[in-house]
Symmetry: C2
DNA sequence: CTGCGCGTTCAATCTATATTGAACGTATCA
DNA sequence: TGATACGTTCAATATAGATTGAACGCGCAG
C-alpha cells in the first residue's frame, strides 16, 4: 500500500486514539477500530500488534469490546486459522449500543443509595431543622434521579434508535 | 449537627465522589458538590478542606468549575472576608451546562482532520483501488460526523432545554 | 505602609486505570 | 496423539491526569 495512503491512515488512527482516550475508553480502542475501518482487508490480531505496536492481550480485549458493540465483526477466511476482523459502517448502531452500555451501567451505580437513606430519614421524623433540611434535599435528589432516568429511557434512547 | 445526620451526608459525599470519578471528572468535584448541597449553611474553602480532607488548591479549582456550571453560587456574608458557597437545586440547568461544555468540547476535537484528508485525497484521484477505498471510508466518516453534530445541535440540546 | 488572611497557581507527586506480556487453555493439523 | 499456532487471562507495570501544597498576588485592617 502506498506510503502516502499509509500516512493518512496513521493520522486518523492517532486522532481516533486521542478521541477515545479523552472519553475514557483508552487509546487503543479507538486506534484499533480506526485501523480496521481504514483497512481494505480484514485484519488479524497480529496485524494489529504489528501496525499499532500494542500488546496481543490488549488487542484481544479491545477487539472483543468492539465486537460487542457491533463496531467490528469476525469473518472466517477458509484455509486460515487466525481470526479476521472487518469494520461495520453502521456508526449509528455502534454508537447507540456503546452509549446504552456505558451510560446504562453508570446509571445503575446510584441505585439503592437514595432509597436506603430515605428509609433512615423517614424513621427519624422529629421536628429538627437540620433533619428537615436533609430530607428536603434528598427528596429533591430522588425526584431528579427519577426524572433523569425517565428522560434517558423514554427520550434519549428513542432518539438514538432513529 | 447530629452525628447520624453526619454519617448520611458522608455516605452521599462518598457516592457522589465515586460517580464523578467514574465519569472522568475526578473524585473531589462530586464530593464537593454533594457536601455543599447537603449543608444547611453556605460553605467556605476551609470548610471543604477540613470536612473532605482535600487540598485548598484542589477545592479552589473544583469550586470554580462548579460555579461555571451553575452548580454552586458564591454568596457574600457581610462582615466576613471568606467566600461562601451554596448549592443550586436546579439540576436540570446544571447538567445541561455541564454536558454542553464537556461534550461540546469533545466534538470540536475532531474538526479539521477530516477536511484536511479529503483535500489530499481529492488531489490524488487516480483509479487505484486502495485510494478509492480510503476515499469512500473517509467520506462516510464525514457524513456521520456531520449527522452526529446535527443531532447533537438540533435534537439533544433541544431535549435538554426542557 | 505593613502584616495578615484570603484565593489562586502550577510544578511535583500520587493514583486510578490502561496496557503489557508471560503463562495458560484450546482447536487444528499431521 | 502430540505438536503447533492461535486467542485469552491476569498479575505486574506504565501512564494520563487528578491532587497536593509551597509560593505567590491581592486587598483589607490597623
Amino acid at each position: 500500500m502506498s506510503s502516502e495512503l499509509e500516512q493518512i491512515r496513521q493520522r486518523y488512527v492517532e486522532s481516533a486514539g486521542h478521541l477515545s482516550q479523552s472519553i475514557g475508553l483508552g487509546r487503543s480502542l479507538g486506534q484499533i477500530f480506526m485501523h480496521i475501518y481504514l483497512s481494505p482487508e480484514p485484519q488479524t490480531l497480529d496485524d494489529l500488534t504489528r501496525e499499532l505496536e500494542i500488546s496481543k492481550g490488549g488487542a484481544s480485549m479491545a477487539v472483543r469490546q468492539l465486537e460487542q458493540w457491533g463496531a467490528v465483526r469476525r469473518v472466517w477466511i477458509k484455509g486460515r486459522r487466525k481470526d479476521y476482523y472487518e469494520a461495520s459502517e453502521d456508526f449509528g448502531r455502534v454508537i447507540r449500543k456503546a452509549l446504552l452500555d456505558v451510560i446504562g451501567r453508570r446509571m445503575e451505580v446510584t441505585d439503592g443509595l437514595i432509597e436506603d437513606a430515605e428509609k433512615v430519614l423517614a424513621g427519624k421524623n422529629n421536628g429538627d431543622k437540620d433533619w428537615k433540611f436533609m430530607k428536603r434535599r434528598i427528596r429533591k435528589l430522588r425526584t431528579f434521579r427519577d426524572r433523569a432516568r425517565w428522560i434517558w429511557d423514554r427520550s434519549i434512547v428513542k432518539l438514538l434508535l432513529k
